[in-house]
């Protein structure tokens, strides 16, 4: 408690309650300090904010736009329309409303225009083939591709996402469960620079619990409709999230301690610097000879499979766990 006014939000980082006014002040200062301390942007940067229309990305867009003068950067939004009926259109409406208010431009790219099919159509194919790959895996790969493509086309020097503390901690736990050490080492507040084709990604909400982001949007009146992606039930994230939150309830600050474990590991073991390598089909940055975007596209779309096979010969999908 700072001022004796009615408490609004418990801030586990402070171990204390704050009133609405002091919470907003604390929240904004903490985001600003993360951006400046970790040098997430440089003066003159063109910062694209990847916005889904959810609370995290809208808050990121709102705050970066608010700080843009102080930071000396230009801010605009980019959005991906995956083609998920009953979900994406509501989120995009919320986004357009906020962008209009802020006077910020938003550029939208769709799966349909980049790949020729919507996510709903892709999921129909996945279902027919017994979901050997989950909708969220395909969607995540395609989304990253489209976001990077739009950011680059629009001349962005940084790509900001709305990832918050909960996201980071959940991904850390999932990586740990899969013994995916490389994933742990590479998931930081700022991505390493790997060649000119990948716009470096930054996460201004890295230290902010998801619950505080929601409290902030409610207090500030940043509107975001409550619609959950219909495909979330297929993700492994759900049980992990439930578990982390259960422990957090019993033991406030648990999420910060998990994040600290990750950061300590990342400090001790440096991820080896990688020479940028490129997909032999599309030319985009990729750790493998064929990038995941091309692989999934070929798996989902007969015509694209022919394109890929013309360039590299026949694809053994079983090798990639896709059969």
């Amino acid at each position: 408690m700072v001022c004796g006014k009615r408490a609004s939000v418990f801030v586990s980082y402070l171990g204390d309650y704050l009133c609405a006014e002091h919470f907003v002040e604390y929240f904004e200062r903490r985001v600003f300090e993360a951006v400046s301390h970790f040098r997430l942007v440089r003066e003159g940067d063109r910062v694209a904010v990847a916005v889904s229309g959810g609370k995290d990305s809208l808050t990121t867009l709102y705050l970066l736009s608010k700080f843009s003068g102080r930071l000396g950067v230009e801010v605009f939004g980019i959005a991906v329309d995956e083609g998920i009926a009953g979900y994406r259109e509501h989120k995009l409406d919320a986004l357009r409303r906020l962008a209009d208010e802020l006077g910020v431009e938003v550029f939208v790219g769709s799966f349909k225009s980049y790949f020729g099919f919507t996510l709903d159509e892709a999921v129909n194919v996945l279902r027919e083939r017994g979901y050997v790959v989950k909708p969220c895996s395909v969607c995540g790969v395609f989304r990253r591709y489209v976001m990077n493509a739009i950011a680059r086309e629009r001349g962005a020097s940084r790509l900001a996402t709305g990832h918050n503390l909960d996201d980071e901690v959940q991904v850390f736990v999932m990586n740990a469960l899969k013994s995916h050490v490389d994933g742990i080492l590479r998931e930081g507040i700022v991505s390493e620079e790997v060649g000119a084709l990948l716009v470096p990604r930054i996460k201004p909400l890295y230290f902010i619990p998801e619950k505080e982001v929601l409290a902030y949007t409610l207090i500030k009146g940043i509107y975001t409709p409550f619609v959950e992606c219909p495909y979330i039930v297929y993700a492994m994230r759900r049980p992990v999230r439930r578990w982390v939150n259960e422990v957090e309830d019993e033991d406030p600050g648990f999420k910060y301690r998990l994040l600290a474990s990750k950061e300590l590991a990342r400090k001790k073991i440096k991820a080896p610097r990688k020479q940028p390598t490129y997909c032999r089909v599309c030319g985009e940055p990729s750790a493998n000879p064929v990038c995941k975007t091309c692989l999934y596209r070929a798996y989902l779309d007969e015509n694209y499979r022919l394109v890929v096979e013309k360039k590299i010969g026949s694809i053994n999908f079983a090798r990639y766990g896709l059969e």
């Binding site: 408490a7 939000v9 959810g54 619990p209 409290a215 409610l218 975001t224 992606c229 999230r241 439930r242």
Partner: protein
Amino acid sequence: MSSGELISVVVDVFGREMKEVKVPANFKIADLVKMLGFRVSEVVVSVNGVVSAEEEPLRPGSVVKLHSVVSGG
């Protein structure tokens, strides 16, 4: 949970469902959240339209709105 006096509050669950709930007079917001089967880290609560800390006691007739933290991007 106390076996004493009960008060009633109106709960709005994620804007999907409104219901009247009777709770012990000494209940805090956090107790109500747990009673309804939610985790405190997964909801933000507003009382009569104002975002409120979970340690706040409930008052008779309050409209308690639960907002889900987990809404997916």
